[in-house]
Subunit: 572 residues, 2 copies
């Protein structure tokens, strides 16, 4: 066992130098400033007290710095996972009581266990069940639900619901209760954030500032909005006029927590925990890979599972919420010059400083401001381009995406993602259930065999050669049976059927059964079945079950050898 | 639209002759005699009054004769489907009340609708989700549950349960209540049936009788058992000594039934109905194909769905239970000389005669006799050979089979089949998630490119050529990204990466995203991505989304063309 594989910190720590330290520290300071309002906002989105978001931004970052393989990934609360947390926990307990936090902590713990186990047992391939159209549809729909869900904070009303129709209905019903001052504050912030994201960057570039500076100012506008609205709310004591504010955030180290051992709760949460784990992993790995590639580095997906898993275990025992690598923060971290995972550890220390000494400053931060930052952040996740692109590229993939969007909006996140996965699998089974096959004949004077429908080739009425261009497995085994039966019923003179297997990488047990049935049925009608060009590993398995002895015909090294031996004129 | 395709009767009826009629009639008489006790037994297995089994053997057979494509398939109640019916309906209502029959009729109706729709929309590929190991495991486990479940009738006690532990426990608890006369009758029949199946055939063959006669006598032994035990029970009025008998079966035509329109019931039954439909279809089609092949005929799977679907609709409206093509009866029908689906229609008339005039004869038929025939029939479904065979051939397929057996025994039929399907899909995703890829180099002096690890080939430090031996889709897209990232991080001088696509039959939207990411990441590090030997249909799609324009490199007609153009020495 290579200990460096499981402790990537040993790779980079021994060669850590002052120059790198300076770069990491600079990046960490910028990310800390960005992470404070994000942590509060995503805790709110998950239906949790604000400090839980901060707690989730300390231990997980320290742990990921030891175990993670990406140098620039910024781990912590993210929007989509916060939404999934709210949906999963909210289905079981009401967000108002103490039981809610207990449930979220268990969810975080279970997700940590699942990710770690997936890493140790190299089960990262489970993430492959999520096709890109499903992820993209899911994220788009989640972003819509999140954005619509935040409007209550802009209006200063209280509504709840995990799907779009419920939310919209509740919002409309609650309209008469809106708080004008909150609406003013919230919509002002929203407009400012939208304008600065849309126009400030380009404007600064036009003024002659560099692209990097223009982007950075754009990214700092949420911070500016937080500072200004907090100051306004404090100066005019807006909370006395019904504007909801964060209120007192308890100072001090994160309290330790023990995950619940209630078996019933585990059973209710496991599907949600699994989906949170997989979605979080997919998001994190794709950010990590994109950033790593820019420096010709690489990340190790299995070790990333362990890193994220332990980070979530850390979040669970320090009263946090589920975490993963976030897109926008990681990009800022990278652009700001983070060179090693130490930057993440320094960010954790920055958050620790905030929670120990600066929580009073957060007291008058208006909830509406946080809601506006969430809305702007998630709207950028709605990728209209990807939707159009998929529509043009493949109607099948588009239908999986559309189903995921519709079910997520109408039925919630779990149902949405599960239906999308189901449809993707069904489409894949459908696509491979009719593999391309061709009846081939010999190109005169050569050893080549080509499709008889496209080329002028030699054939013989007593020999039929079929080339199958796909591995044979349960999804297409029956089709092969149907097809051979159809061909044979049209060929009265047939004596030999040859299946040419150069493209068959695998024959599973179902396909083996089909070959045995085909062999037996052909034998009943006096036709011999032969195979040609069987690959080594496939041949080995066939020999384990003595298939060659059962076969009415022979297994030939090449299609040409089969042709020479079997075509009419030779003895049989 | 070809009307003959949807009404296969038009194919054979115009040329129907007396000689064929005689053969069909002979077969029908033999099958009728066999079907009477089977119908009663499988109705009992499904928890229904005995006459329901007879009702299900009239209308469905007439309908299948018009719509079916197999000349020898014998449609009617079968053991596994009867068990699944009992399990699905029994989870919702108790088998004692009237609501149970209503539920079964709705289940039959829903299964009929599903099968018909699957046929009309050509969704027969859905049956491909059931891999052979899952089917085989499921049938083995069902046979065990059925056999154990019938022991109560041999003992003359009353117990219930849909999984093995419950059944065994209930049986043991009920042991003190056993009825000695029933036990004597039941175990005697069981021994007789076992002995005649095991030894009678071989014995007759040894005596010089032909194989066909020996087999036929073996198959008639259940009839003999029914006749003899019914006579004994009648003569000694055993029902007065506590031996359960069929009792009075109402004579007369099947009463019409209307399927329930209770939406809640539809929602509870749809998963069960779908599984019954698919399992029934798979069983029926594999029997049909085997028999058709013996005469170089073929069956049309989509039309079979329609035929079976309408047969079930017929069963539903005539107070029946779910039906499909049964294995043993179809083989008898075939061996007895059935030449067209008319044999099935004549069988239906035979059953009609029985139910109109001969039901009094069934009155003293002991339930224990039916139980013994069921036990012997289902034990032959336990295919130890298939289990061993799968173990030797593939541990992965074996694990899917084992999981299906264990979950079916412990949790019941629905859970068993669904877990098996889930595991098969997961294994398939796993197998294809790491497609075979090879870095290839040029065989000196030729245009061939081979794996650099197996052959001595020319390479160039600035060009890397990767051959991918699988279609690219969501399950393996991410792996390709990982792999290319690993290769690139090891090749400092690299300028060009070529993916050779001769084995890539499909690139889905997820894989396209991956190619776009790979392209963008390589561009960031100054490496150009090229493709070679892209197939026509794949190329068309790539052009729809302007992928070739985005690509940093080119798309070459052949790997050799890419090599010539890119290898060091040429201008770039």
């Amino acid at each position: 066992m290579n200990i460096k594989k499981y402790l990537p910190i040993l790779e980079w720590l021994p060669s850590y130098r002052l120059a790198i330290f300076n770069q990491d520290l600079m990046a960490a300071m910028i990310v800390t400033v960005m992470l404070v309002p994000q942590s509060l906002a995503y805790a709110m989105l998950a239906g949790l007290p604000p400090e839980v978001g901060l707690y989730a931004s300390i231990a997980p970052l320290l742990i990921y710095a030891v175990l993670g393989t990406s140098s620039a990934l910024s781990v912590g609360p993210v929007a989509v996972i916060a939404l999934m947390t709210a949906a999963t926990a909210g289905m079981i307990v009401s967000p108002d009581g103490d039981a809610y936090l207990t449930t979220v902590i268990l969810l975080t713990f279970m997700s940590g266990v699942m990710l770690t186990l997936m890493g140790l047992f190299r089960l990262g391939f489970l993430a492959n069940f999520l096709s890109h159209p499903v992820i993209s549809g899911f994220i788009t729909a989640s972003a819509i639900i999140i954005a619509v869900g935040q409007f209550k904070h802009l209006l200063g009303v209280s509504v709840s619901g995990h799907n779009l129709p419920d939310l919209l209905l509740a919002l409309v019903k609650a309209l008469p209760d809106l708080n004008l001052m909150t609406l003013l504050m919230g919509s002002g912030t929203l407009l400012f954030l939208y304008a600065s994201r849309r126009w400030l960057g380009p404007f600064l570039t036009q003024l002659g500032f560099s692209q990097v500076i223009a982007n950075s100012v754009g990214r700092l506008s949420p911070i500016l909005a937080v500072v200004v609205t907090t100051a306004i709310a404090a100066y005019f004591t807006l909370n006395e006029q019904g504007v909801a504010v964060v209120g007192s955030v308890p100072a001090g180290l994160p309290p330790l927590a023990m995950p619940s051992t209630d078996v019933g709760l585990w059973q209710q949460l496991w599907v949600g925990a699994l989906l949170i784990s997989i979605v979080g992993f997919v998001e994190s790995v794709s950010v990590g890979q994109t950033l790593a590639a820019k420096r010709r580095e690489r990340i190790d997906p299995d070790q990333e599972l362990i890193g994220l898993g332990c980070a979530n275990l850390g979040a669970a025992v320090s009263t946090g919420m589920p975490v993963t690598g976030g897109f926008s923060r990681s990009v800022v971290n990278f652009d700001a010059g983070a060179r090693t995972p130490a930057a993440g550890a320094f960010t954790a220390l920055g958050i620790l400083v905030v929670i120990l000494w600066f929580t009073p400053l957060l007291q008058t931060l208006p909830i509406a401001t946080l809601a506006a930052t969430i809305i702007i952040a998630v709207l950028s996740l709605i990728d209209i381009h990807a939707i159009k692109h998929t529509w043009r590229y493949s109607k099948a993939d588009f239908s999986a995406m559309l189903l995921t969007v519709v079910i997520t909006l109408l039925q919630g996140v779990e149902a949405g993602i599960l239906s999308g996965v189901g449809l993707s699998l069904a489409l894949h089974i459908y696509r491979t259930s009719r593999p391309h096959t061709a009846v081939v004949g010999r190109v005169a004077g050569s050893e080549h065999f080509r499709n008889i429908e496209r080329h002028t080739v030699e054939t013989s009425p007593n020999v039929l050669i079929i080339r199958v261009d796909e591995s044979l497995y349960f999804a297409n085994a029956r089709y092969l049976e149907d097809q051979i039966q159809a061909l044979v019923s049209q060929s009265p003179e047939l004596q030999h059927l040859v299946i040419s297997c150069q493209a068959v990488n695998l024959i599973d047990a179902s396909a083996l059964d089909s070959l045995e049935s085909i062999n037996a049925r052909l034998k009943d009608t006096g036709i011999k079945l032969h195979l040609a060009e069987v690959k080594g590993p496939v041949m080995d398995r066939l020999e384990w079950v003595e298939f060659p002895e059962q076969l009415s015909g022979e297994i030939f090294i090449s299609t040409f050898a089969a042709w020479q031996r079997l075509k009419r004129g030779d003895k049989d």
